[in-house]
């Protein structure tokens, strides 16, 4: 098998795999499956990057998406009112709008693929894609990328500050203590540790327990 034919076979494998797994994202009824089908789709795209000679971008895409999809699973589980996210749930809703948007997006991309004039610029075997990318990042486009980098960093620091236990609006645990089940502070949950410390004496506890 010669190399161009092999490249063609691999391209169609990656492309078909990418589209198939993207379709599976919306057929899955589990958040974990949906997220990792999307990851599989990205791995297909990364494979096409490799075929184009952009090794670094391909591997970095897999590296970033492995982390991002896992974090997406965890966040989806946290946001959905679904115990540990283990119950099945559907990934499709607002059918009419999404069908319309999907058809429009497909037509737009198909028109682009058919009518756009793509340049035929084969890359030489000797070109050092990673070195060129590094020169671009730290040369001509340095200001753009550094600005984006600083913006992202400040966003991350802001998010950490908002989520931090010692946030500027006080203790993050403050609103999260369990409600009292019985009156007079009997049967408080373990989250109420600061409040429990304020209890004057152990004897008092015994007294309450006696009543309860």
């Amino acid at each position: 098998m010669n190399a161009p034919l092999l490249a063609d076979v691999l391209f169609w494998l990656f492309a078909a795999g990418s589209v198939l797994s993207a379709w599976r994202v919306f057929r899955a009824d589990s958040m974990m499956r949906a997220a990792y089908w999307l990851f599989a789709s990205f791995v297909g795209v990364a494979g096409i990057f490799l075929l184009l000679g952009a090794e670094f971008l391909g591997f970095i895409l897999i590296l970033m998406m492995a982390g991002e999809m896992t974090i997406m699973v965890v966040f989806m589980v946290m946001f959905m009112m679904n115990p540990a996210g283990l119950n099945p749930m559907t990934m499709v809703h607002q059918h009419r709008t999404s069908i319309a948007v999907g058809v429009l997006a497909f037509l737009g991309l198909a028109a682009l693929a058919l009518f756009a004039d793509f340049p035929a610029a084969p890359v030489a075997d000797t070109s050092r894609a990673t070195a060129e990318l590094g020169t671009e990042l730290l040369g001509g486009s340095m200001l753009v990328f550094q600005t984006a980098g600083v913006t992202l960093l400040s966003t991350m620091i802001g998010a950490i500050a908002l989520a931090s236990v010692r946030g500027r609006y006080g203790d993050a645990e403050a609103g999260s203590t369990e409600p009292q089940i019985a009156p007079e502070g009997v049967g408080r949950g373990s989250h109420a540790m600061p409040a429990a410390k304020e209890e004057p004496e152990m004897d008092e506890h015994h007294g309450h327990l006696g009543h309860g």
Binding site: S30, Y36, E55, F56, F59, A66, G67, A129, T130
Partner: protein, 310 residues
């Protein structure tokens, strides 16, 4: 050679040497465990032990759980093994001789280590059971704390080589190994490597306090595969330590492959010893340690390596 022949040869060679190294790692683990417990084991017995255990697991009944995600559960050990194999593929065993001698070899290695997280998460999520799920979440919580310093100290080794190719990194250690040139590198890589292989002190997703964590519900062949794949990740960490910090295939008299094997085994012994001697670290304190100590130290390593080159 045609690309297909090369690919077949590469896969067979990689699989074979990885299988041998996994078995050796299992034997060494038993030997070290018995030495630490002051009950020395005869080598003949030690050599047979992993095979006996494997045979027992092959014959063992597979446990099932209610409403598990069977496909993802079956995929997890395969994905872990594939990630380990892909990461080992970039390690050169001679001048410009690796199964996958790619330009961005370090990026491939780090991406493969990131796939370990996906495999562990699938393994913990799929059984639909409490302890495995906690193990999975725990691994997601600590992953970034070891992956970032691991990637940073590896990047520092790429600076003197002026290339992300692992072959070039070994070539650049002509005369002076990176373990001397970048003294912070190897200790940080080994500490974070234990996290990547979730081994010993950093066996957080599969910890004993979670009744085995993600493997609490696994038995039989899937358990055997999972443990072998985990050892493969450990072997990959040892092999990368040898290549990136200990001069790889460089050494006098003996052929390069032998030197790489000896160095890999030496690092493997250190990692296995750590598994038997060090206590398990709690995930909270490890995350703090990772972000407050390991990542700044790794950045210092990168800066120092850069300054040395100016």
């Amino acid at each position: 050679m045609s690309p297909v022949t090369r690919a077949v040869l590469g896969v067979v060679g990689l699989g074979g040497s990885l299988a041998v190294l996994i078995y050796l790692a299992a034997v060494l683990d038993r030997v070290i465990g018995h030495r630490v417990a002051q009950q020395p084991l005869r080598w003949s017995a030690a050599l047979a032990l992993p095979a006996r255990e494997a045979a027992r697991l092959v014959l063992q009944q597979r446990s099932r759980t209610e409403r598990s995600d069977a496909e993802a559960w079956a995929l997890a050990p395969a994905l872990l093994a594939a990630a380990a194999a892909a990461s080992v593929a970039v390690i050169p065993f001679g001048p410009a001789a690796a199964v996958a001698d790619v330009d961005a070899g370090l990026a491939l290695y780090v991406a493969a280590i990131a796939l370990v997280m996906v495999a562990v998460f699938l393994h913990g999520w799929s059984p639909n059971s409490v302890y495995p799920l906690i193990g999975a979440y725990r691994f997601v919580a600590v992953t970034l704390s070891f992956q970032v310093p691991l990637a940073l100290v590896l990047l520092a080794t790429a600076l003197p080589a002026e290339s992300l190719s692992v072959s070039a990194i070994v070539q650049a250690q002509d005369g002076l190994w990176n373990v001397v040139r970048q003294p912070l590198g190897l200790p940080i890589f080994l500490a974070t490597g234990l996290g990547a292989a979730f081994w010993g002190p950093l066996a957080l997703p599969d910890a004993d306090d979670l009744a085995g964590g993600t493997r609490a519900e696994v038995s039989g062949v899937p358990l055997l595969l999972w443990r072998a794949a985990q050892l493969a990740v450990l072997v990959s960490i040892a092999a990368m330590s040898a290549a990136a910090f200990l001069g790889g295939w460089r050494g006098p008299w003996l052929p390069g492959v032998v030197w790489l094997g000896l160095k890999t085994l030496a690092v493997l012994v250190v990692l296995l010893l750590a598994g038997h001697l060090l206590a398990r670290v709690r995930q909270e304190s490890f995350v703090v340690f990772g972000w407050v100590v390991l990542i700044p130290l790794a950045l210092v390593d990168v800066f120092l390596s850069g300054i040395l080159l100016l």
